[in-house]
């Protein structure tokens, strides 16, 4: 039995939490086609980290505050939906990273310290960090799972969600804030520059294999945890930045899932086409229209075919007429 060093235990716990939170929020970001939002927030969060290093406050706290402000700003720009929002976003991103580097320089902190925030580090997760990371992860997961129907509706079709009386703006801001919190949660393991990968790649992998939103969501969490734990373990033995190891493992998973996904889809298609036996029958009365999937009469699946409910009895298609079933 291998006894893990204390720092490694903390790193693995942080990886577990990150692996859950990142794909949970990531699923909604991908659904909204905002896959790179995490990346933008990561850039902005760097200023927050630098602010912490400069002032001596815990960088995790300052990063949460600055990243959330940045995320809300990004969401406001997105909401306006003007062409200039694109450029404004770019300015926000690079302003964030430049501000971070500038503040770190002023504080006289080495590039090596900065690197641990950019690409993650297994040796620097403190107990205090871990407690905060755990608390934030629980909040993110409770919201992501408990509000799934509402968040799904908002991300899937904003116009419809509005017309269903869902406060779209509140939920949009909530997603942005959760993304910011998740970036900070993930900062110590994958690092600010790669956090977006852990939000997006497990989701992309999961959707190769799953048919529905809920299934994609659950599978993405599972894959996220697997990639984070494997990546952190790998970085311990090979001595590379954990962020790089986690992302490479996640991408490897995707390359495996992609061909499997195409195979699965082909099989399902073949399954839909399969046809089998028949039985004795009574012909039904004359029809003014053809029963089909679209005639308005409800279909009732019956073994290998579909019957249509028609005035209290079932009709099944047989050649050019309908049978009573």
């Amino acid at each position: 039995m291998i006894v893990l060093a204390d720092f490694m235990q903390r790193a693995l716990l942080a990886a577990l939490l990150t692996g859950l939170a990142a794909p949970a929020v990531g699923t909604y970001l991908v659904q909204r086609r905002l896959a790179l939002m995490g990346d933008g927030i990561g850039h902005v969060a760097l200023t927050g980290v630098a602010l912490g290093l400069l002032t001596g406050w815990a960088p995790v706290w300052t990063a949460v505050v600055v990243a959330t402000l940045g995320a809300v700003a990004i969401e406001l720009l997105r909401e306006h939906g003007r062409a200039s929002a694109d450029v404004a976003l770019a300015m926000l991103f690079y302003g964030g990273i430049a501000g971070g580097v500038l503040l770190v320089g002023l504080a006289g902190i080495s590039a090596a310290t900065l690197t641990t925030y950019l690409f993650g580090s297994v040796t620097t997760v403190s107990v205090g960090d871990l407690v905060l990371i755990a608390a934030l992860t629980v909040v993110v997961l409770v919201l992501c799972i408990g509000l799934r129907p509402q968040l799904f509706a908002v991300c899937q079709d904003e116009e419809f969600a509005r017309a269903a009386g869902i406060p779209v703006r509140v939920y949009s801001m909530l997603i942005a804030a959760m993304a910011a919190v998740t970036v900070v949660v993930a900062m110590r393991t994958v690092g600010l520059l790669m956090v977006s990968a852990l939000m997006v790649v497990p989701v992309a992998t999961a959707q190769q294999l799953a048919r529905g939103f809920r299934a994609t969501f659950s599978l993405a969490l599972l894959l996220g945890v697997a990639a984070s734990l494997t990546g952190v373990t790998l970085s311990y033995y090979v001595d590379v930045a954990p962020g790089a190891a986690i992302v490479v493992v996640a991408l490897f998973g995707f390359t495996l899932a992609w061909p499997a996904g195409s195979l699965l889809r082909r099989q399902r298609f073949a399954g839909q086409r399969a046809e089998t036996g028949r039985r004795g029958h009574v012909a039904a009365e004359e029809h003014v229209h053809e029963h089909d999937a679209e005639c308005g009469h409800p279909g009732v699946p019956h073994d290998d075919h579909v019957d249509y409910l028609h005035g209290g009895h079932l009709h099944a298609r047989h050649g050019r007429h309908y049978d009573e079933h």
């Binding site: 509000l147 509706a153 009386g165 959707q207 048919r211 994609t216 089909d292 679209e294 308005g296």
Partner: protein, 248 residues
């Protein structure tokens, strides 16, 4: 007769362009009203304004007698946006999309109950997609995707159905199936407001049409509207037998 939609002197400006100017539209309970007109005439904006989705510069909008800004009974409204919105970044099954139609009746953190689930299955059956309910929406044909959106609106059991070009790019079979579903809906004295590019198989169902041109009401009245006004092929009203109930 109870007024369901009241639009009075409404002007909508989008990106410094006047999309609607001084438009009036009134829809009473049980009516089927079509908004017709060429592309860019403001049809979609008009029905989006009716739902509070378009920024109104001036004028009054009421739904079921309540000013739109104070309107909270969203479960009475079923909205079917244009089909382009059916697919999103993450796959969703037909059932999942249709289930979103129940959200106006559910509180946050409240789980779907048996009635929610049952209504969702009924709505899927209404549009004839029961055998596809676990399939990904983005793998369906355009006509089937459109029917998913209709089912989503129907799942909310609304009193007013608002549809944006439900027939655009849809094959004849789906259009006819859709016309039957609508007829069922209207038979229970509910109200429909829809944007149409072409009347098609829905023509016989429409009680009244409003023709828009360049953001103004060009003409309003019962069908048929002369072809030279609508700029589309002439449709004649059939005296067709009406199916009695939901399941004919």
């Amino acid at each position: 007769m109870t007024e369901v939609v009241d639009i009075d002197d409404v002007t909508v400006v989008l990106d410094d362009r006047v999309v609607l100017s001084d438009v009036d539209l009134h829809v009473s309970q049980g009516e089927v009203v079509a908004v017709l007109g060429p592309n860019g005439s403001g049809k979609s904006t008009l029905i989006r304004a009716a739902l509070g989705l378009a920024p109104v510069r001036q004028g009054d909008i009421r739904l079921f007698g309540t000013p739109i800004s104070q309107f909270r009974n969203w479960q009475r409204v079923g909205y079917v946006p244009q089909r382009s919105t059916a697919a999103s970044g993450v796959p969703a099954s037909v059932r999942e999309v249709v289930a979103a139609g129940r959200l106006a009746r559910r509180r946050p953190f409240q789980r779907a109950d048996a009635r929610d689930r049952e209504t969702v299955e009924q709505a899927i059956a209404l549009v004839g997609l029961t055998d596809r309910s676990d399939d990904r929406v983005d793998r369906l044909s355009g006509g089937q995707q459109q029917r998913v959106l209709v089912a989503r609106a129907a799942a909310g059991d609304p009193d007013l159905l608002v549809l944006d070009e439900p027939n655009a790019g849809i094959d004849q079979t789906s259009q006819e199936a859709f016309a039957r579903a609508l007829r069922t809906f209207v038979a229970s004295d509910r109200t429909v407001l829809l944007v149409l590019h072409q009347l098609g198989p829905l023509g016989p169902l429409v009680d009244r049409a409003v023709v828009l041109d360049a953001g103004r009401v060009l003409r309003e009245g019962p069908l048929p509207i002369p072809a030279d006004v609508t700029g589309m092929p002439q449709e004649h009203a059939h005296s067709e037998h009406r199916e009695t109930g939901l399941f004919g």
